[in-house]
Symmetry: C2
Subunit: 253 residues, 2 copies
């Protein structure tokens, strides 16, 4: 059963009311019943709630928060900066990487992005992508819905990266022949300070020379290869994030 994301802070013993779209979904589509349990998430934490009443006509579920659930989030956050790609590729990228556990997405207009979105289209696309992230997070039993943001230039990323400590930025680079994530990731041990990883994936046509220079020299991103097989833009991020999460023992122990 998918999780409900609540916008209020929860505590044990609290009574919650699920209405709106979620209420409709749980009463009319999933047809939950009084006495059953459902999982809710709020402020990065999952809770088990016991259903006290179901009003299918009004589409409202009333439940009591009974216990906190173990975290489902990676202890080592991974962000994906993805060059804007064609068609519905971004939809799939957000859906799959949200399931996998990405903490947030930055969709970036690049020199070779065929797609450029004006501010109106951008808003409607962002709304769509955030909905996809929320649904995928709910299905995947996550504690948070990943952030989805849009950037129209690499420089916009600079301040955000600068504001973070203990962050490694990996630039997936077709020109890099040797260094992979296996050697670029810091050695992992339980004693090490929790690090954040940012993976940077280009659009279909890759990055131009100026952009590459900005990533490597201004943003201090580490160029890495994912090996000799050419991955498409919609596969590369998922593969890279899987490798990082595996490295940090966040895909099971």
């Amino acid at each position: 059963m998918p999780r409900v994301f609540m916008d209020v802070t929860l505590e044990i013993g609290q009574t919650i009311t699920i209405g709106g779209e979620d209420g409709h979904h749980y009463t009319r589509v999933l047809r939950v019943r009084e006495g059953e349990f459902l999982a809710v998430a709020s402020s990065g934490c999952g809770y088990l709630a016991h259903i006290g009443a179901v009003d299918a006509t009004a589409g409202i579920v009333t439940a009591h928060v009974v216990e906190t659930l173990p975290t489902h989030e990676s202890m080592y956050p991974v962000y994906l900066i993805q060059g804007l790609a064609k068609g519905d590729k971004i939809d799939t990228i957000i859906q799959h990487n949200t399931e996998l556990g990405v903490a947030g997405f930055l969709l970036l207009e690049t020199q070779r992005s065929v797609v450029k979105l004006d501010s109106k289209k951008r808003e409607s696309k962002l709304e769509r992508w955030r909905k996809i992230a929320r649904e995928a997070a709910s299905q995947a039993q996550r504690d948070v819905v990943p952030i989805v943001a849009y950037g129209s230039a690499i420089q916009a990323v600079h301040d955000w990266l600068d504001s973070m400590s203990n962050v490694s930025v990996f630039f997936l680079d077709e020109e890099e022949r040797t260094v992979g994530l296996a050697s670029a990731l810091p050695l992992h041990s339980a004693q090490v300070v929790k690090r954040t990883s940012v993976l940077v994936v280009g659009p279909e046509g890759g990055w131009d020379a100026v952009e590459r220079d900005v990533w490597v020299n201004q943003m201090r991103a580490i160029p890495v290869t994912l090996g000799p097989r050419t991955l498409r833009t919609e596969t590369a991020g998922l593969v890279g994030v899987s490798a990082v999460l595996h490295h940090y023992r966040q895909l099971g122990g």
Copy 2:
């Protein structure tokens, strides 16, 4: 530029003729020219070939094999056994995992597979999936096209697994809470004998209790989790294969 797969054994100095669908693609779609280079692959090895003549009308490219290319294949083969899933999910699974480097696929009818294919449909589906694998392998610059096979019962896998030495079978198991690939994979060092990994992924509805028992007790598969986030069937394989290839340093060094 995508690679051409040749069915004949190649050697340096040999003249090759590319006709048929490939010839059409290279002359009319990609519009290669005399003097350019293209990559060809045969018997698990990649070669660079120098184009001597292009006949666009007949759709024929003539080229000379000039050198062997470094291997693009994983030194540690990974096979994917995938429970038959609905819609075009298998298409995507084959495409993405071929890019990533999977050595072969076994599509398996399971108790909870909604799709069951009669022998006629099976042949046409297999033809379609093999075409997808070939195209993805060509785009990804692989040295081989992965094998695509179909099984109508788990027991059919038994002899195949038994015929292989140094093989680890990992059963992606929703019921497993603790052991992930990180601890289930054998310790990796350059001295270790090359191992083959087989990942077993269920269909949308998962495996039933009898099937689970067959995998774990008869096939000696190791149950593993990919962590607390619920992955869909089309994501799980790609994530698991990425973790295995990363573990064996086959996604860049």
